[in-house]
Symmetry: C2
Subunit: 336 residues, 2 copies
């Protein structure tokens, strides 16, 4: 029999071919004792105390892009959702929906990326599932990960930004969205543009110092910086006042955004964390972040301001102020 | 503006329309404090000790079928994976991949089924995600749930069936697979045939009695009874000897299976648990199951037998014995 090079419907049937897929692809890549039992559920332990639980589906197209792929994203995205919640990411699940005909080489590359990213983040993929749907009924590969992590003791003031607080970010915005878009549209001239897709838990670790009082933290994914700050401000008396000149944007993203007419503030990031800290802690927070490779360009981009009634504003370099609205949808579908 | 009646790409963009979907559909249906925070991860607690973690994707077509829908399945399937692992199901995540153009009425019906099934099973849906892909790039609605449950103290001998042990099931096999197939193919003459899709955790609760020694328990989903028993026996000196006449099959399933030439032993169930118990405990286990509405037809279907070297055999009523192989794939794709 000719060795298989593509996904068949039977790979998702729960029979011998499903078993082969697990044994040849998933077990060696994610190698750990909980997964190795191949039971219906992984048996795990965490220290006593509260834990965090999250999930995301990943449908990015194309599935490979400069700086990462759907596998990198599926691990990093869920790790980051746990980390910004104040949890130490520990265990992930991985459920794949594959399209009949998907090249097995593509699957192998994605699984290898997942394994590499999980190792980098220090998490284990302990349980999973694979379904296969007929050709034309899914686009190649969709991955859903869920994650569990132990919650740290959270700093005093966590969850309650105050007027006067500073808004910080760990680096330039828009890289992920524009890198995926460039790959999708074949805009190959932007050779230096790479997704920022990365697990941020080690960077975030540096900020959970008892001397630092982080008051809010979230990764700026779908909807970009605009969505995360609008969600933060909504319903409060205060708002967020950003300074346009302070928001880091790479030259590649800047030029693509001008050509395409897409504002980088609305574009998904996959390696950017936005946080709010008391002004007394700003320099320590910046120093902590800059000590980590993923935080070298950490900077202050704005302040929490009284009387903005839930709005996010942006002050231009020429002295104007405009409102940065919540995006209605996503300017770039299937970006993550 | 005309009220929306279908899913748009922007519903998955992380902006205002994503927020509306969460507030109008998910929050009211799954109403619980952990979900209500709408943070990146739910903050939860379990008693100290080991816990179980599992995930499954659901891609069944059609999305509505007699006896349930993809929403019922997405809750019951993950609850059952936790329950057969010896865990008390507690918290579920729900991640949806929706196709642009999906009628919002369909989504509402599915979410309502999920809420109803979660309430029936006593679990909370505490975190979630929604992605939307372009028309033609997914088939309507795919749901991935992950679940966390606290592990009970497991009975002595759990995980180690012995020759002479009895194999039990809680009722007839094949109902789910044939009900979905009949709905898919428009075989409407089988009006009494319904999926057995149901959360089994309450039934399984009755079996975690200190006096009972359950040695193995698994739900017989994809690949049916044949797959679960072949997985059980693989690699052992012993095997599983089934008695054909003892395996309950409903008259509707029997006649459909004859017409279509599909063996019900290979067909997915979504409300059937197979277990192995010491003969000394068989009558108590049957009595426990029969005390629950989902176990009324519980019965012994075979025994663990020496010298079968990992095989599953089936003894016919005429005295013959044949091997029941591991299915290669699934005879019925997209059955769950």
């Amino acid at each position: 029999m000719k060795p298989l090079d593509r996904i068949l419907l039977a790979h998702g049937g729960g029979g011998a071919l499903s078993g082969a897929l697990i044994k040849e692809f998933f077990l060696p890549a994610f190698d750990n004792p909980a997964l190795a039992t191949l039971s219906d559920a992984a048996v795990l332990s965490l220290p006593p105390g509260p834990f965090a639980f999250t999930t995301d589906s990943y449908v990015v197209t194309p599935r490979f892009f400069p700086g990462g792929d759907i596998g990198t994203l599926a691990i990093a995205g869920t790790v980051n959702d746990l980390a910004v919640s104040g949890a130490v990411p520990r265990f992930l699940s991985c459920s794949m929906i594959l399209e009949e005909g998907l090249p097995l080489d593509d699957l192998r590359r994605v699984v290898d990326s997942m394994a590499r990213t999980a190792a980098e983040a220090g998490v284990q993929v302990v349980t999973g599932d694979t379904k296969v749907v007929e050709r034309g009924e899914a686009d190649g590969i969709f991955i859903t990960t869920a994650g569990v992590g132990e919650l740290r003791p959270l700093p005093e003031g966590w969850g309650t930004p105050l007027p006067g607080d500073h808004v910080l970010i760990n680096g330039p915005v828009g890289d992920h969205g524009f890198a995926v878009l460039a790959a999708r549209e074949g805009l190959m001239f932007e050779t230096r543009l790479q997704s920022d897709c990365a697990p941020l838990n080690a960077l975030i670790d540096t900020l959970f110092d008892p001397a630092l009082h982080i008051r809010f933290m979230r990764d700026a994914t779908r909807g970009g910086l605009a969505a995360v700050l609008n969600e933060l401000a909504a319903g409060h008396d205060w708002g967020v006042a950003l300074r346009a000149g302070a928001i880091p944007v790479s030259p590649s993203v800047r030029s693509l955004s001008e050509i395409l007419g897409i504002d980088p503030l609305f574009v998904a990031n996959e390696g950017k964390v936005v946080m709010v800290v008391s002004p007394a802690d700003t320099s320590a927070a910046l120093e902590s972040m800059r000590s980590h490779p993923l935080g070298r360009e950490a900077t202050v981009i704005g302040t929490i301001e009284c009387g903005l009634h839930g709005l996010v504003t942006i002050d231009t370099d020429l002295g104007g102020r405009r409102i940065l609205d919540m995006p209605l949808g996503e300017q770039l579908p299937r970006i993550c």
